[in-house]
Amino acid sequence: MKARIYITLKSGVLDPQGKAVHHALGALGFEEALDVRQGKYIELELADGTSEARIEEMCRKLLANTVIENYRIEI
């Protein structure tokens, strides 16, 4: 089985990389891009039957830093 993990910065956490990407989009003429927040996407190949609780634990213990990041799991 496969799980997809989306990791995003919490609102209120400064995202200088997103800002730089936003700036570059603006320079290319994409004025309709109003803001950019950059995150991470992680694909996990898992043993069949792995519980969502175990995946949650992976996110909390390593994949995301919950001080600054949120995560979303798709199975």
Binding site: P16, Q17, L62, N65, V67
Partner: protein
């Protein structure tokens, strides 16, 4: 005084740290590989600067889960002294031994230069050789030194006087210009600037010596 410097794959300030601890603090220094499960019996553990695990995932994140880190956390809980510099500070934050996180510098640049710090808390065993409010010149060399904590944590750090070093001028976007913080008990210090890089005149200055002299007198 006995000290251990933990070496991770990608550490690059471990030997400078060992030299400063040996030559200035007069410590017996043992280098400990991160894969070890236990620490030697020491007064101080230092987590050095560098790029452990190539900064993969997040700076300090994978090092913070190394086998040795369980022993480091336990030692700190028992009251042993723990110093994290640069990547070492990032590990302490990732291991949640110290609050907050170190984000990418606000201007996205890798910043490598001397900066002026104000010693905010000179009442610790790491800093009592400095005067409160003294300004010192110490180098920084980091890409991810932008200190972030939620508003509540930040207020708590300030109210409890746990900001140990503060940048005199904005350097990397850190909230409240925080350069270094300690835990409540005062036995854990994390800081982005590198005191071990300025301990001999040959290095261009000696403002970093104070930290190692303070440790020397604490563990005579």
């Amino acid at each position: 005084m006995k000290a251990a410097v933990v070496v991770f794959p990608g550490s690059n300030c471990d030997r400078d740290m060992a030299v400063a601890l040996r030559d200035v603090a007069g410590a017996d220094v043992e280098m400990v590989w991160h894969g070890e499960a236990s620490l030697p019996d020491v007064d101080l553990i230092a987590l050095p600067g560098g790029f452990s695990y190539g900064d993969y995932l997040r700076t300090g994140a994978i090092a913070a889960k190394s086998p040795i880190m369980q022993a480091v956390v336990k030692a700190a809980e028992e009251g042993r002294y723990l110093l994290g510099v640069c990547n070492g500070f990032q590990m302490l934050a990732e291991a949640q031994i110290l609050p907050g996180a170190l984000l990418r510098n606000a201007n996205l640049n890798y910043i490598c230069r001397d900066v002026t710090l104000r010693v905010e808390d000179s009442d610790t065993r790491f800093t009592d050789s400095y005067a409160a409010g003294e300004t010192i010149r110490i180098p920084v060399a980091h890409h991810d030194g932008n200190y972030f904590a939620d508003a509540e944590t930040l207020t708590q750090l300030e109210d409890e006087g746990r900001v140990v070093f503060r940048y005199l001028d904005a350097v990397n976007g850190s909230q409240n210009d925080i350069a270094g913080i300690r835990n409540r008990r005062g036995n854990v210090l994390g800081m982005m600037p590198h005191p071990e890089r300025l301990v001999e005149e040959d290095q261009g200055g000696t403002d970093g010596r104070g930290l190692f002299r303070a440790l020397a007198s604490a563990f005579r």
